[in-house]
Symmetry: C2
Subunit: 412 residues, 2 copies
């Protein structure tokens, strides 16, 4: 069979060990050196040519920065969340090694550069806004003796009366969130990150979902879920709003610029939902199905008039409407939603196995998320057709700079 | 709650019965009449505005014609195959009713028009090259007393030594193949078609896969599978090639313009595949990973030189190479491949649950597909890393004209 040159003075090829490469070239700084042979170089050059034309595959989200990518990033078309449990042998030193390697993978893959090693490097060429984001569950802190560094307000959620949680969609020490506008690029990145993580941790669950393909829905309209609802209208958009709602402000200090994610898997019963007519569906949420406008408004982003009454004296937006129950006038309780739809095929009775991967991001879980979820658990007509079947919380570390790694402030 | 006008002289709204509508407006010819209320009309107008700009969501594949869509159609980014078993109560009259209704659904949904009824009509607005294609398994003919109309060469595949078939991915009386460049549009269409089919049939399996998002890979390059291989180079491209390889030429007469599909679910072992270096991977197939060129050529579509020897006297394209085993000089044995990658997450040991939904289309299964598959079962180095775990064959009926339905030549 064919043979490799493994000399590190020549172009490294895929089978060169990452350890060797990291030693010789420095961690994740040698992007230009990561050619993997002539064929790869040609393909890489072809891909680079496309960059100038704004080609979708060549769109790249910067990896390094104050915050991790994949949070403020506009939702990609496809996403996967991976939940991991640390192996008993993974101590704090092991966790540092794991996060160094995962950081290295992510820094490369998101920029269209194969991981080290990456034995399918051609699948890395078209990242299509690929992001990889890392977070730690409450048990991660406890297992590694880091309880003193738990972010303010970060804890497992209380039990809610509506929950029917399944272990196969819940909990975890470590989360890896991956998103891309291309399903092939996503699948390859998940494979590479999994290959690294599985040396240190055991997979608990993998959950995948989608929004819409770029260009598939009208420009500027928020995406729809599988109930047909425009979903995600009330979200922070400016840097100031992100600072106020999403990014932790140094409490504790290592978490400055981080955020917390609540991931809820919400099963949706399309069979019963589809028995409703359009007006009834709109009353259950308080928004129009056509464009997501509040029932008292015309356009999606019109503020709702909660005091408005119809001719018969009842509120136009009913007391049980999801929108009325979820919203808050306390700006310190708002947060970012970045939901993905899931579709796992068809149950044996012909009903669809579909729902929402509800991912929410906030500086402080106890203060921002729990009160809203409690209100919705107490009363929300949408509960009639939805069931939370998975739940997990993770502290997403701040970003890092070249040479650093995600989680360094916590683990170092 | 809100109320509907169900008068058929006004715009029908989603809850109007399909039966009533079909009677009053004629089957699937009343597309312009399918407004479903003011909000919907506004959203529809917005979507229509986009059509002029070549917006991805508004790209439509014609439904009616001599052949069904979704075969000659360039592969969409996402696809789902649904396998069904007829209910014992579904006789030939029932099958006619089912195919009339499925045809009506497909004729509407593929053109961005909600099905009747469609209680989530806003999800129908952006078809993004949506196609829906229908076919019948050998058992469909037998159950309905139609054995005399079985297409020439159409039969269950023989058992191959490499097969490890699982019932949950195999067989079926009816297949519905759905494809779209938008996963949300796809999910909605599958939901609508399932809602119709489940009155007449029971779901056996649902299998979903993907290629690449439009714009994510270099223009003109064939797509890659999860082994990183360019997959689908040798395919018919001209109308003449489709006539010679894919479209049945009137044997029996009702099948004129139809084709047969072989659907094989092929599990791929990425863990062992990734132990190979690039050169070894290339030898196993006989093509370069960089661009899919034969090992004796430079560009993807260069013809291979099977006689070429390397300096050591061995064939450049080895005797065990997939390409040498699969190819044929007999043009009457060629056929169309339209593979999708599948990624069902991660097994508990950390290995990826991935593979290929190998969909092949040919006029005559026995003459075109079986000899090739037999050669590959006998010898193909790729068998080392791949395992067929699902298999089914379906006769895809010819297309139909407005007022007709898919399968009319067989069932009427």
């Amino acid at each position: 069979m064919s043979e490799f040159s493994q000399s590190e003075t020549q172009e490294p090829r895929p089978a060169v060990s990452r350890r060797g490469f990291l030693v010789s070239a420095g961690l994740a700084t040698g992007v230009a050196a990561v050619g993997v042979g002539t064929g790869y170089a040609v393909a890489q050059a072809e891909a680079a040519q496309k960059a100038a034309s704004g080609d979708l595959g060549q769109q790249k989200v910067p990896f390094y920065g104050k915050h991790q990518a994949g949070i403020e990033t506009a939702s990609q078309a496809y996403g996967t969340f991976l939940g991991w449990k640390l192996k008993p042998s993974t101590d704090r030193e092991g966790a540092i090694r794991m996060m160094r390697l995962l950081t290295d993978d992510a820094a490369r893959l998101t920029q269209g550069v194969p991981a080290l090693p990456d034995n399918d490097p051609y699948l890395a060429l078209n990242p299509a806004r690929l992001t990889a984001t890392f977070g730690f569950g409450p048990s991660f802190f406890t297992k590694l003796g880091l309880d003193s560094k738990i972010p303010t307000g970060f804890a497992e959620l209380p039990a809610f009366s509506i929950d029917k949680l399944k272990p196969e969609f819940s909990g975890g020490d470590l989360v890896i969130q991956v998103g891309s506008d291309d399903p092939l690029s996503l699948s390859h990145a998940v494979r590479q990150l999994t290959r690294t993580a599985r040396s240190f941790a055991t997979i608990l669950w993998s959950q995948s979902g989608f929004t819409s393909t770029p260009g598939a829905k009208p420009e500027g309209q928020t995406g729809r879920n599988l109930f047909g609802q425009v979903d995600g209208t009330v979200n922070p958009r400016t840097a100031e709003e992100f600072d106020a709602q999403v990014w932790a402000q140094g409490s504790p200090r290592w978490f400055d610029g981080g955020t917390s994610m609540v991931l809820r898997r919400i099963a949706m019963n399309l069979d019963t939902w589809d028995k409703l007519d359009e007006g009834s569906k709109e009353l259950s949420v308080g928004r129009k199905l056509s464009n997501g406008a509040p029932l008292t408004g015309v356009n999606e982003f019109d503020p709702p008039n909660l005091a408005a009454k119809s001719d018969n004296g009842l509120p136009v937006i009913p007391s049980f409407a999801h929108m009325r129950r979820a919203r808050t006038d306390d700006v310190t309780q708002k947060f970012l939603r970045r939901p993905l739809n899931y579709d796992e095929g068809i149950n044996s009775d012909g009903s669809p196995n579909v729902g929402l991967l509800f991912a929410a991001y906030m500086a402080n879980v106890s203060h921002q998320f729990v009160p809203v979820q409690q209100r919705l658990a107490d009363l929300d007509l949408l509960n009639t057709w939805t069931t939370p079947i998975g739940s997990a919380v993770f502290a997403l570390a701040p970003g890092c700079q070249p040479g650093g790694f995600i989680g360094e402030g916590l683990l170092s």
